[in-house]
C-alpha cells in the first residue's frame, strides 16, 4: 500500500535531481573559474590592496551562511528590481561561495609548490604564462585534488538549501510530496538514497583520479 506511491515519488525526486545537478554543475563552473582567477591574482600580484580585497571576499563568504547569500540574491535583489530565477540565484550564490573556498585551496596549493619549480620553467625560456600552464597549474591541481573532491561532494549536498528559494530540486519536491501524500518516512528516505547515489560516485571518481595521478605519493 505504502510502496504503491514509490514510482511517483521517485519520478518527482528524479526531476529534482536533474535541477540539483544543474545547480551543482553551474555553481562548480563559477567556483572553479572565479576561484582560480582570484587565486592567481592572490599569489602573483604585488598590489597589496588586491590581496586585501580577496582576503575580505573570502572572509565574507565563509562567515555568512550560504542560505543568507541565496536570500540576498533572490529576495534582496528582487526588491531593487533585479530578478533571478530560483535556479539562477542558486547557481550564482553557491558559485560565489565556492569561489572563496576554492580560491583558498588553490592559493595554498600554489604556495606549497617550491618557487624553484616556476624559476626552472622561466630559466629554460618559458614565458610566465607557459610556466603557469605547463608547470604550476598541473602540479597545483594534482596537489589540491583531494580538497577539490571534498568541495564537489559538499556542493552537491549544499544544493539542498536552494529549496529555500523554491528552486525545484530534490528537497523541494520531497517537502511538497510530504504535504500532499503524508508518506514522510518513505519520501525522505528516498531523498536521502538519491543524494547518496549521486554523491558517492562523485567521491569515488575523485578517489580514483587521486590514485591514478599518484596524489600524496
Amino acid at each position: 500500500m505504502m510502496l504503491d506511491a514509490l514510482p511517483s515519488i521517485l519520478t518527482a525526486l528524479l526531476a529534482g535531481a536533474v535541477t540539483a545537478a544543474q545547480v551543482a554543475f553551474g555553481a562548480a563552473l563559477i567556483a572553479f573559474g572565479l576561484g582560480l582567477a582570484l587565486a592567481l591574482v592572490n599569489v602573483f600580484t604585488s598590489v597589496a590592496v588586491l590581496r586585501l580585497a580577496i582576503a575580505a571576499y573570502i572572509e565574507w563568504m565563509r562567515n555568512v551562511p550560504a542560505l543568507a547569500h541565496l536570500f540576498l540574491l533572490y529576495f534582496g535583489l528582487a526588491s531593487v528590481g533585479v530578478r533571478f530565477s530560483p535556479k539562477a540565484a542558486a547557481i550564482i550564490g553557491l558559485g560565489l561561495v565556492g569561489a572563496a573556498v576554492l580560491c583558498d585551496v588553490f592559493s595554498a596549493g600554489m604556495r606549497a609548490l617550491h618557487v624553484g619549480q616556476r624559476e626552472a620553467a622561466l630559466a629554460v625560456g618559458l614565458t610566465p604564462m607557459q610556466a603557469l600552464r605547463c608547470v604550476v597549474l598541473p602540479q597545483m591541481l594534482r596537489l589540491t585534488l583531494p580538497s577539490i573532491g571534498n568541495y564537489a561532494s559538499q556542493l552537491i549536498k549544499d544544493t539542498s538549501i536552494a529549496s529555500a528559494i523554491a528552486a525545484p530540486e530534490i528537497m523541494f519536491y520531497a517537502r511538497s510530496l510530504v504535504t500532499s501524500t503524508f508518506q514522510t518516512p518513505l519520501i525522505y528516505a528516498s531523498a536521502i538514497a538519491l543524494y547518496a547515489s549521486i554523491v558517492f560516485p562523485v567521491s569515488w571518481m575523485f578517489n580514483r583520479l587521486e590514485r591514478r595521478l599518484g596524489v600524496g605519493r
Partner: protein, 265 residues
C-alpha cells in the same frame, strides 16, 4: 678580444639596506669554465642568478655576445628592466642547473628535457624528443627517458637537469651548487658529466664548494667574499697559491690551504 662571451660589469644587488653584491665585474671567455667560490653568504649564488635575471640586479650590466640581458630601451632613450615575458628568449640562450634540481615531477624525464624546445616553438615535437634523447645520452641516462623524476636518485635527477639545460642549446650554462644537495657517493657522477662538458668546450659558470673540482676542471676561479671579488685568476694558481689572506683563510677552512695539499711524488 672577440672571444669574450659574457661580460658582467659593475653588478650590484641590494635587498633593502643589505648590499649583497657590490660592484662585481668579470668576463667569461667562450669555452671557458669559470668557478665562483667563497663562503656562504658571499653573494656567489646571487651573482649567478643575476646573469639570467632570475634575480633582478640593482645596478650594472650583463652583456652576452653584445646583447644586454634583461634591459630594454624605452622611448625616451633610457632603459628599463624587462618583464619575465620579454626575458624568455634571452633566458633560453642561458642554461641553468639548480642545487635542488627542480625537475618537474609531473612530467617524464623525456618531457622534462623536451618541454622548452616544444613550447618555445623552436622545433617540432618529433625533433624536440629526438634532441631530448640525444641530450639524455650525453648524461648517460637515455634508458631513464620514460621514468618520472621521483624514481631517480639525486645524482640521476641532477644529470637530467643538466640534459634539460643542454637541450636549450645554450651559449653558456650556469651551475648553482650542483652537487651540494647530493649524497657524497652521488657527487662523482654529476661532476663527471660537468667535466665532460668542460672538455667539449661548453662555456660554464660554476658556483661550487668542490674546491678540488674547481681547481682541476675549471679554467679560472673567482673567490668572492662579502659581495666583492677578492681574488681571481687561473684556477690552479688561485687555489694552490692564493695571494690574499682572505682567500688563504677560506681555502684553509675547507681543507685546501696550499700547505695542506699533499701530492704523491
Amino acid at each position: 678580444m672577440n672571444d669574450i662571451l659574457l661580460t658582467v660589469k659593475g653588478l650590484k644587488k641590494s635587498y633593502g639596506a643589505v648590499e649583497v653584491l657590490k660592484d662585481i665585474s668579470f668576463d667569461l671567455r667562450r669555452g671557458e669554465t669559470l668557478s665562483l667560490i667563497g663562503p656562504s653568504g658571499s653573494g656567489k649564488s646571487t651573482c649567478l642568478r643575476c646573469v639570467n635575471y632570475l634575480e633582478k640586479p640593482s645596478g650594472g650590466e650583463i652583456v652576452l655576445e653584445g646583447e644586454h640581458i634583461g634591459r630594454v630601451r624605452t622611448g625616451d632613450g633610457r632603459t628599463r628592466t624587462m618583464t619575465d615575458r620579454e626575458l624568455a628568449p634571452q633566458r633560453s640562450e642561458i642554461g641553468m642547473v639548480f642545487q635542488l634540481f627542480y625537475l618537474w615531477p609531473h612530467l617524464t624525464v623525456r618531457d622534462n628535457v623536451a618541454l622548452a624546445s616544444i613550447k618555445t616553438g623552436r622545433m617540432s615535437k618529433a625533433e624536440a624528443y629526438e634532441l631530448a634523447e640525444a641530450m639524455l645520452e650525453k648524461v648517460h641516462l637515455r634508458h631513464k627517458a620514460d621514468e618520472y623524476p621521483e624514481r631517480l636518485s639525486g645524482g640521476q635527477q641532477q644529470r637530467v637537469a643538466i640534459a634539460r639545460a643542454l637541450a636549450q642549446r645554450p651559449k653558456l650554462i650556469l651551475f648553482d651548487e650542483p652537487t651540494s644537495a647530493l649524497d657524497p657517493e652521488l657527487v662523482g657522477e654529476v661532476l663527471g658529466v660537468i667535466r665532460e662538458l668542460a672538455e667539449e668546450g661548453m662555456s660554464m659558470i660554476l658556483v661550487t664548494h668542490e674546491i678540488r673540482f674547481a681547481r682541476d676542471v675549471g679554467d679560472r676561479v673567482i673567490f668572492m667574499d662579502g659581495g666583492v671579488i677578492v681574488e681571481e685568476g687561473p684556477a690552479a694558481e688561485v687555489i694552490d697559491h692564493p695571494r690574499k689572506d682572505r682567500t688563504r683563510a677560506f681555502l684553509g677552512q675547507v681543507g685546501h690551504a696550499a700547505s695542506t695539499i699533499v701530492r704523491a711524488a
